[in-house]
């Protein structure tokens, strides 16, 4: 009986880990696709019309690309809470913290 309960618990945990892999993959897929569309659209418009608008679109594309791995880390942090994975939560929190510091430093001295 105890073994069966262990097996069920392991299966549930594995299913949650599978969901983590699927979620991180989905975030990356959406992020890369959105960034590429924005960058390509900006380049095409820039080639024919020029001006500030296409540059703004391309800048948005770069920012979406840079935000994509950050979102992936946030997804890992969220799943770590659900999985009671304190090692994963601590590590992903440190990464998010350092990325925030990086952003603050960049804004402060940029």
């Amino acid at each position: 009986m105890e073994n069966q309960l262990d097996t069920i618990a392991m299966t549930r945990r594995n299913m949650r880990y599978a969901a983590l892999y699927r979620s991180v993959k989905l975030v990356l897929e959406i992020g890369v696709a959105a960034a590429l569309v924005l960058l390509a659209a900006g380049l095409v418009v820039n080639a024919f019309a020029g001006g500030a608008a296409p540059t703004a679109v391309m800048t948005l594309g770069v920012l979406v690309l840079l935000a994509t791995p950050v979102l992936a880390v946030l997804v890992v942090a969220g799943f770590s809470i659900r999985l009671h994975d304190w090692v994963g939560l601590t590590a992903s929190s440190v990464i998010i913290g350092v990325l925030i510091v990086s952003l603050v430093l960049a804004l402060g001295i940029g």
Binding site: K25, L39, T55, L66, V87, V98, L105
Partner: protein
């Protein structure tokens, strides 16, 4: 700063395509090719080339990680633990880089290129054979994956975490200073020191390099070293080149690829040393 009007869009896209193609064929992010190509061939200042390359590394990392995550090759927990050290190194490296001279950065890039060429020149069998099986294991980071080529599940334990964390800080600093992913440091350390199988090390490193690149890319971006007009064609070229390379990679001979890689890196190293010496190309 770059004046995008002076830089041909097609030349930039071609640079990205070449870097993405070669990088994908040889299992690298492509940053190690983007910086010298932009600097030496197109005359882009090295800090701007590094900033653009970091955006490209984020693109290739995210693109390649999609495949590795589908195959469950990536050890997400290990990636997060090591990355917590790498991001700190990356921020320090990026802060340092803007105060360093172009000569120093070019010379450092040359040294790193020589180191990478040396590592790649060694036979892969040597790496597998010398993988250390001693050292304390970290049970919480244990993982497994299905190896298609061997048709079996490979389970492994992670060893020597403190050494891996130390190497991760160094890899992050190098990445922040030079605009490369740092995978050429992380993969050998994970494989040789931490006993992570080569395929899992490549996949895990791939997820990490994108996060590392972002940590320092913010600093380059807000200092004006990432021009969207330059980054857009380079990134699109990199993604297309990486996709093309991944389609051809399985057909090419590993040994020939490895030799081509060493020759290309040797040439890049010589050019970067000449640039550092003020001779130029």
């Amino acid at each position: 700063m770059i004046n995008p009007m002076e830089t041909n869009v097609w030349a930039l896209a071609g640079t990205g395509l070449l870097a993405g193609f070669i990088g994908s064929l040889l299992g690298l992010g492509g940053g190690i090719f983007v910086v010298p190509l932009l600097t030496l061939a197109l005359g882009v200042p090295i800090q701007s080339a590094i900033g653009t390359s970091l955006v490209g590394v984020a693109a290739t990392s995210s693109t390649a990680s999609i495949t590795y995550l589908r195959e469950r090759l990536t050890n997400i927990r290990l990636a997060m633990v090591l990355e917590s050290a790498t991001t700190m190194g990356a921020v320090l490296g990026a802060l340092l880089a803007v105060y360093l001279s172009q000569t120093f950065l070019a010379a450092l890039f040359g040294c790193i290129t020589v180191y990478t060429a040396y590592n790649m020149a060694r036979r892969p069998r040597d790496k597998e054979a010398s993988a250390q099986q001693s050292g304390k294991t970290v049970g919480t980071l244990t993982s497994s994956y299905y190896d298609r080529s061997q048709d079996r599940v490979v389970s492994y334990e992670v060893r020597r975490l403190p050494a891996g964390m130390g190497a991760s800080v160094i890899a992050g600093a190098v990445s922040g200073m030079l605009g490369v992913g740092g995978g050429f440091i992380k993969v050998p350390v994970m494989n040789l020191v931490m006993s992570v199988p080569f395929k899992a090390a490549i996949a895990t490193s791939n997820l990490m390099v994108g996060i590392t690149a972002v940590a320092s890319a913010f600093i380059y971006f807000y200092r004006g070293y990432v021009s969207p007009e330059v980054a857009a064609p380079v990134v699109i070229g990199i993604c297309f080149g990486a996709w093309l390379g991944s389609k051809l990679a399985w057909r090419a001979s590993g040994l020939i690829l490895r030799r081509v890689f060493v020759i290309v890196l040797g040439a890049i190293a010589i050019m970067m040393f000449l640039k550092a010496a003020g001779t130029g190309i």
